[in-house]
């Protein structure tokens, strides 16, 4: 399957202009579901779906209350003007009714809805697939502890299965948020938070769901995206099988790809990046074992293709200033070899996808 160009994909997601201009919440939001918009109101899993239901309840309750209060204010403004109007004392009973009794009833119902929602969204499962996510400035480390798989900035999950998430941080606070699947859970150093997500169909943002860091974490907080790729179980299993392989498994000796792998191992790359099955075992940066297969560079900063990747390696600071990767002094040939190595992974993956 050919991967669509991201920009073209998103152009289709542009909304018609008059929709927002008509403004009313209901009108505006009823038109959701366009591809590309990571909207909380276009839920694709039971968690976000539940919350969207709570939102609509809260919205309509609020609209009713607002219309009542605004109506009273409007009445006061239009009817109570002019010298002939005689001010009257009193009015306490209306204050008690509108300011105490009415909110007490409404808020009690809201609180019960709240308890119900909390209980529905709490994680209580057992034996679910577990994924460990560790936040870094400014990328996501993703581990499948039962499978011995490590990747970054991409979670692959089987459709329709609940996935248990263990979240922590290696540096500052971050927050894990996939608006179409699940609410925010913070990643805090020294603490592991557990939550879950479940996707009921594939995402529509580049074939995935768009997640983004939601707790300000420094200079490139804006560019700390991740993707949740929800796949049918067979495709997920195939992905997992490829990820379990070591970095050397698919590289025939003597090819440019093999030379590229050697460059990665012998240069400064290995100080920060790991390639399983080789001597490169750095932990400061993302695991590169199957990096070529990943869709984006720099946690969503750019598409992961040969052109961008070359630029990123030479000087990633121009694409994402302030990220922790320094410019790399590779010779022209070495760079081509490295790119060839990751190209080979891309080809392997598309073969795995069935072309």
């Amino acid at each position: 399957m050919g991967r669509p160009d991201r920009a073209a994909h998103r152009r289709r997601g542009l909304r018609p202009v008059p929709l927002i201009l008509l403004a009313g919440f209901g009108l505006q939001l009823a038109g959701c579901g366009r591809s590309g918009t990571p909207s909380t109101l276009d839920p694709h899993g039971p968690g976000a779906d539940r919350i969207a239901g709570i939102w609509w309840f809260l919205l309509w309750t609020s609209v009713v209350v607002f219309l009542m209060v605004a109506g009273l204010i409007g009445y006061a403004v239009w009817r109570r003007r002019g010298e002939r109007v005689q001010p009257r004392p009193g009015g306490e009973r209306l204050i008690v009714a509108g300011g105490i009794v009415l909110p007490a009833v409404v808020l009690t119902v809201v609180w019960l809805v709240n308890l119900n929602g909390m209980s529905a969204l709490a994680y209580r499962g057992q034996g679910d697939l577990t994924v460990q996510v560790t936040g870094h400035q400014y990328w996501w480390e993703v581990r499948y502890p039962d499978e011995d798989v490590v990747t970054a900035n991409e979670l692959h999950v089987p459709i329709g299965r609940r996935v248990r998430l263990e979240l922590t941080s290696a540096d500052v606070n971050h927050s894990f948020w996939v608006p179409q699947l699940t609410y925010k859970t913070d990643l805090i150093p020294g603490k592991t938070n557990v939550t879950w997500l479940q996707a009921d169909r594939p995402g529509s943002y580049d074939g995935a769901y768009r997640g983004q860091c939601a707790e300000y974490c420094g200079l490139q907080h804006a560019k700390m995206e991740f993707l949740v790729v929800a796949e049918p179980p067979a495709a997920y299993d195939a992905w997992l099988a490829r990820q379990r392989q070591s970095a050397t498994a698919t590289v025939p000796a003597g090819t440019t790809a093999a030379r590229g792998l050697a460059v990665l191992e012998s240069n400064s790359c290995a100080a920060c990046h790991a390639l399983r099955g080789t001597s490169a075992a750095g932990r400061a940066g993302p695991d590169l074992t199957h990096f070529g297969e990943r869709r984006t560079l720099g946690a969503g900063t750019a598409p992961n293709n040969r052109g961008y990747l070359g630029g990123w390696i030479v000087n990633s600071q121009t694409l994402k200033p302030g990220n922790k990767m320094p410019p790399q002094q590779l010779g022209a040939e070495e760079l081509q070899d490295v790119l060839a190595y990751f190209d080979s992974q891309r080809e392997e993956a598309s073969r795995g996808d069935g072309g």
């Binding site: 920009a7 209060v69 009273l72 204050i95």
Partner: protein, 633 residues
């Protein structure tokens, strides 16, 4: 030949007036001058923070914009929030309080005039220090909430966060003593007869806010002191690698931070409660209910902070409890909304500019309150917190709940503050631009927040459904700025050639309208007498106040005096001597500024010298003066 009355006035004038000359400008302790300074300085910081917001809106107008660097954007959003909260809202409302509290209670000054002057200078220096850090590109850049570990030494090694911690500690001095001064003034200097049930709502709001300040600032100060120790001296309060806890910062910050919302909003609601009766031509409906609501708000505000932390991973039980408290705090708000509305419904509405701002406030604040209820629902909170939805929500609360009332208050009291009336015509134009601009800026944020746009991002990708909303917000910000600029022009124009203000231009109900505009240095020729909560609308209060003009015990023209009364019933106790103008408050604030700068720049001997200077100033300040009999601060 001068009449008796004129002779008394001349004598009071001689006693209370500042000596002429430039030096007196630095030495004054007159609450009216200090109040005006607070408001003008607050407006200056509002303009700075507004310009910061406009630059951010320009950057976000289109996706993938490269107008400004991420470094600058982070400093801008951090200082926009910090300045709007700490350097604009609270000081400006303290300015209203400083000017109006002694006038509304019928006193001649605040209880501690020199502390009052000291507080202003501290606020000015702290504000200049924090905003001035932009000139060295060293402004705080970890958000106004400065979460650890990001704000700690490892991830923010530069000086920016030291400016934050020390600047807020320094500023906290001004806020704390200002609050204590309000409490003592309102409880001890009320005109005879102004028992607790006759205190105007604005003063109750100042009381509630001041109590909240006294209890809310210590956790913030403790947190900032701990942060500074972590950053400068290798402590580990918030360092998880050494057994510290970054979440502790969040608790301390929000134990301050949520009450602070009400510290800002309550006095603004007090302004609304002052404007509504005047322009409805009847007393406020449900006065006692509104007093209880005001106090209840301040109390409950200390029990809701965890709703800022629903995503942190705290136990479910505490989330359920804090959710209930967060919903509960809506009820006092509801009481007030209905009290104002009922007053308007059963009164006769006069559509002045001040009242337009109040009506605008009602609509906007109700929307902010309703979206606030949504944040009490844990699951929904976690879906939209830290998205633009919450940015929309708190701007509806704070722009609606503080800026609209402040603007209304300016149109209402400008004559009293300056002696000149503002143009109502320009005022109405300004209102409509502000109202439309505000809604155009912040309403779309609800939508693109729900569509998944996180806050505090210096840019965003196109095609995610956020483009049009952001563009509208940026256009709205320009309209809003134009409306605010119109009010500034109105003020400058009126100061130069505005209509002179009569003592009581609107037919107001409280005591500030009983004296000239602007009031003479001694405020009232005689301390008035109060028989109701609306003394200006009550014949008995007015008659007794007239009679007091011939009563030596109310004229207090023998010395620099005001009248002390009992806390509950405002029974006269004794005249107390008030201090003359002095340079000591400025010297004291200056010494502490030297301490702060010394600590900031790691010039510890400079800090020590500043500390010594402060000690000497305190000694001089407190040195017993033989002639004075009463105590005064």
């Amino acid at each position: 030949m001068a009449t008796v009355a004129e002779r008394v006035e001349q004598r009071l004038e001689r006693i209370w007036e500042d000596e002429p000359g430039l030096a007196a400008w630095f030495k004054t302790v007159d609450h009216k001058k200090i109040g005006r300074r607070y408001m003008v300085t607050g407006a200056f910081f509002f303009a700075l923070a507004g310009i910061q917001a406009l630059i951010m809106r320009a950057q976000l107008a289109v996706p993938d914009n490269r107008l400004i660097s991420p470094e600058l954007y982070d400093q801008l959003f951090t200082m926009h929030g910090t300045a709007m909260i700490f350097l604009f809202s609270t000081p400006t409302l303290f300015g209203f309080g400083n000017f109006l509290v002694p006038l509304m209670i019928g006193a001649r000054d605040m209880a501690f005039p020199r502390l009052n002057a000291f507080g202003y200078w501290v606020f000015l220096f702290a504000g200049l220090l924090m905003e001035g850090s932009f000139l060295w590109a060293a402004a705080p850049d970890a958000g106004w909430f400065a979460y650890t570990p990001l704000s700690g030494p490892r991830y923010s090694p530069a000086i920016n966060l030291d400016v934050y911690a020390l600047g807020l500690l320094f500023l906290g001095i001004a806020t704390s003593i200002g609050a204590v001064n309000f409490l003592v003034t309102i409880f001890k200097l009320r005109a005879p007869g102004m028992s607790l049930q006759r205190i105007p709502i604005f003063l109750w709001a100042i009381v509630a806010t001041s109590f909240a300040v006294v209890f809310a600032l210590p956790p913030l100060n403790a947190a900032n002191a701990m942060l500074f120790l972590d950053r400068r001296f290798g402590f580990h309060f918030f360092d998880p690698a050494a057994g510290g806890d970054p979440v502790l910062w969040q608790h301390l910050f929000w134990i301050f931070g949520h009450p602070d919302v009400y510290i800002i909003v309550l006095p603004a609601l007090g302004i609304v409660s002052s404007i509504v009766p005047t322009f409805s031509r009847r007393p406020l409906a449900g006065h006692a209910l509104v007093v209880m609501a005001t106090i209840a708000t301040a109390v409950i505000s200390f029990g809701v902070w965890v709703h800022h932390m629903f995503a942190v991973g705290l136990p479910q039980l505490s989330l359920a409890v804090f959710s209930a408290a967060s919903l509960l705090i809506t009820i006092p708000g509801g009481i007030q909304i209905f009290a104002w509305t009922v007053t308007i419904v059963r009164g006769r509405l006069v559509a002045s500019t001040a009242m337009l701002y109040v009506i605008g406030f009602l609509l906007v604040f109700v929307i902010g309150g309703l979206s606030g209820v949504m944040f009490g629902v844990v699951a929904f909170d976690r879906q939209v917190t830290d998205s633009y939805f919450v940015v929309a929500h708190f701007h509806y609360v704070l722009f609606g709940g503080a800026v609209f009332p402040i603007l209304g208050g300016i149109y209402y009291w400008f004559g009293k503050f300056t002696g000149r009336m503002l143009s109502e015509r320009l005022g109405k134009w300004s209102f409509w631009l502000v109202f439309i601009g505000m809604n155009l800026t912040f309403f779309p944020m609800h939508i693109y927040g729900l569509e998944g746009m996180p806050r505090r991002v210096y840019t965003y990708e196109g095609g995610l459904g956020w483009d049009l909303g952001n563009l509208l917000s940026s256009i709205g910000a320009a309209v809003l700025a134009a409306g605010l600029l119109l009010t500034l022009i109105n003020a400058i124009r009126s100061l130069r050639r505005g209509v002179p203000a009569p003592a009581d231009p609107w037919g107001g109900d409280t005591l500030e309208w009983a004296t000239a505009s602007p009031p003479p240095p001694y405020n009232f020729r005689a301390i008035p007498t109060v028989h109701s909560v609306t003394p200006m609308w009550d014949e008995r209060s007015r008659a007794d106040t007239d009679r007091a003009r011939h009563d030596e015990e109310r004229l207090l023209a023998e010395g620099h005096e005001t009248l002390r009364t009992s806390e509950l019933d405002a029974e006269p106790e004794e005249p107390i001597e008030m201090p003359d103008e002095t340079i000591k408050p400025l010297a004291m604030a200056g010494s502490l500024a030297v301490v702060t700068l010394g600590l900031l720049l790691e010039l510890y001997w400079v800090a020590a010298a500043g500390g010594l200077l402060a000690a000497v100033t305190i000694a001089a300040w407190l040195w017993p003066v033989q002639e004075l009999t009463g105590e005064a601060g």
